[in-house]
């Protein structure tokens, strides 16, 4: 039983990772406000928003940013529940757990006294709130960017931002082969599970896992040779060439103007 639990967990994990990414790609192709923007403009403004979140020092500013993100989610026709589940599930929950001790141990003025010297301090409560909101805001922005931008557009935007072509090509190819290797790994787990009656000890599972990993390693090394030969046969000469046909439209300029105004206002409200 123990062994089976471990195997199903791994299968579930791998499959889930695949599905979440594929679902994101579908959404980026659907019509919506953010989907229709130039990826370069979108990426630059989102990064500025994330920096703004980093610089914010008031809880109100961070809350306003989160509200703004939710409006953008709605305008981009991303299902709200799906978005919240994806954003809130792990990282902010973890931040809450991390922040709880800070409520008590941050030195400062007592907000709620519990017993004797123990109590929640004003500074502690604020620090905890800042951490959780900041983490949630930054993550939401990142997730929203990815949900509304197709992978190819993202790569093109990266290239436009002067990332070396070699690096961009590597990122693109890595992404592609992650799926292949994950499928392979998934198949290995499934094959193993289909032949498993009863359970295995932890030690046996670990050894099996090591064999699966080593096989994957050897396969990836072998595959890199084959991919290289395939590239050569198609005329690859060590240069990475790519088409990029971006053109700014009126809505991109409107969006950029809106984003910059919002950022200035947010930073200004921050200093109030």
């Amino acid at each position: 039983m123990k062994g089976e639990g471990f195997l199903s967990r791994n299968i579930a994990h791998l499959t889930q990772a695949l599905e979440s990414v594929i679902f994101a790609e579908n959404m980026a192709r659907a019509p919506g406000l953010l989907q229709g923007l130039d990826p370069r403009v979108k990426m630059a403004t989102f990064l500025l928003f994330i920096v703004t979140v980093g610089l914010a020092r008031s809880l109100a500013t961070l809350a306003i940013i989160f509200a703004l993100i939710l409006v953008l989610v709605w305008l981009s026709r991303v299902p709200l529940l799906f978005f919240l589940k994806r954003v809130l599930f792990f990282v902010p929950v973890f931040a809450v757990v991390i922040a709880i001790p800070a409520l008590f141990i941050t030195p400062g003025d007592t907000l709620i006294a519990i017993a004797g010297n123990i109590g929640i301090t004003q500074q502690g409560a604020r620090a905890a709130g800042l951490l959780v909101l900041r983490v949630t805001d930054s993550l939401s922005l990142g997730v929203l960017l990815i949900l509304t931008t197709t992978w190819t557009n993202l790569l093109m935007a990266l290239r436009w931002f002067r990332l070396p072509p070699l690096v961009v090509a590597t990122i693109g190819m890595t992404y592609r082969y992650i799926f292949l290797l994950l499928h392979n790994a998934n198949a290995m787990f499934l094959a193993r599970r289909s032949r498993t009656v009863g359970g295995f000890s932890g030690g046996e599972n670990r050894r099996w896992l090591a064999r699966a990993l080593t096989t994957t390693l050897a396969k990836s090394q072998h595959l890199s040779e084959e991919v290289y030969l395939a590239m050569l046969s198609r005329g690859y000469r060590g240069e990475v060439l790519a088409l990029s046909s971006f053109s700014l439209r009126r809505r991109d300029i409107f969006w950029a103007a809106f984003a910059l105004t919002a950022i200035v206002l947010l930073l200004w409200s921050n200093s109030l």
């Binding site: 123990k2 967990r9 791994n10 994990h13 791998l14 990772a17 979440s20 979140v53 980093g54 610089l55 020092r57 931040a95 991390i98 922040a99 001790p101 800070a102 400062g108 003025d109 004003q122 620090a127 800042l130 951490l131 900041r134 983490v135 805001d137 930054s138 993550l139 990142g142 997730v143 990815i146 070699l166 690096v167 090509a169 590597t170 990122i171 190819m173 890595t174 082969y177 992650i178 290797l181 599972n205 670990r206 050894r207 896992l209 090591a210 064999r211 699966a212 990993l213 080593t214 994957t216 390693l217 050897a218 090394q221 890199s224 040779e225 991919v227 590239m231 000469r237 060590g238 990475v240």
Partner: protein, 343 residues
Amino acid sequence: MHIPDGYISPATAGIMYAASAPFWYLAVNRVRHALTHRTVPVLALFAAFAFVLQMFNLPLPGGTTGHAVGGTLLAIVAGPWAAVLGISVVLGIQALFFGDGGLLAFGANCFNMAIVLPLTGYFVYRVIAGGTEATSPRRLLAAIAGSYIGINAAAFFTGIELGIQPLLFHTADGTPLYAPYGLGIALPAMMVGHLLIAGIVEALVTGLVFAYLQRTNSSLIEADVTRRKGGKLRLLWGALGLAVLASPLGLLASGTAWGEWGIEELQSLGLGFIPQGLAGLEGWWPAPLPDYGFPRMGAVIGYILSACVGIALVVFILWMLGRKLSHKDLSQKGPSSREGARA
């Protein structure tokens, strides 16, 4: 160990990008030199492997599971510089698609997991492995020790980056703006978790895979053995690299104290007079965010930045030196075909 956005300040994040940049530059050049046209497919496949490796949950005695980073393993099989780039690519994809680690914090995450981890791990591996055969038990021990020390070194840097946050970034009333725990809590918290659990997972995965490679596919390790020529030079390189990595420690470990006093603090330290030059200098660097409640934060950032520029400069000079030396090396021996298959 993935730091999400919000735990470190944008200033720290920027500095960590600056600290990672020279290593990325060096790695791209190294890898390109060794792999030439093969660079893209080889790096991509190894990165994809590292990604998949990080998704495998290893059952641990006691019922829990954990996953490895695989930095040291990748450094052994693909070469340290390919590992730097491979893990960086993995971290980038994780940050973008899975929200694992922040986009601003990407530089910091790369510094810890894609630079400190594989370089330290590989250095330890090489030192312990010495000139032994690919299949020797000593080499297995070297891989295990390297991966354990590598991941703990990474955790150490992560702990420091988180731990300096409340010290450097807080409001006037003492509210920490980012990660709220000082070095006294953040560092032990990181280290205990990694010394006792994550380090063991990393060592276990590396050890098991390495042992299996030794039995079935030792050619992947052998490439490393044949490359050992000029090992002394590489050792020196590693030592210098470690020294460079450790150098920001001096200014971080003591927090804001040593050498960063303002005029009043100098007086309170019992310094009877204020050096003329210092009195004139105070305030020349206007703190960009004076409300942070740390009036000399600008100076602190300047200090750390100049340390980074120093590191970058040292790395650059060493790199030029290394290139010269290795060119001489090559012209004496001629390039080996093995070399071409690895970074």
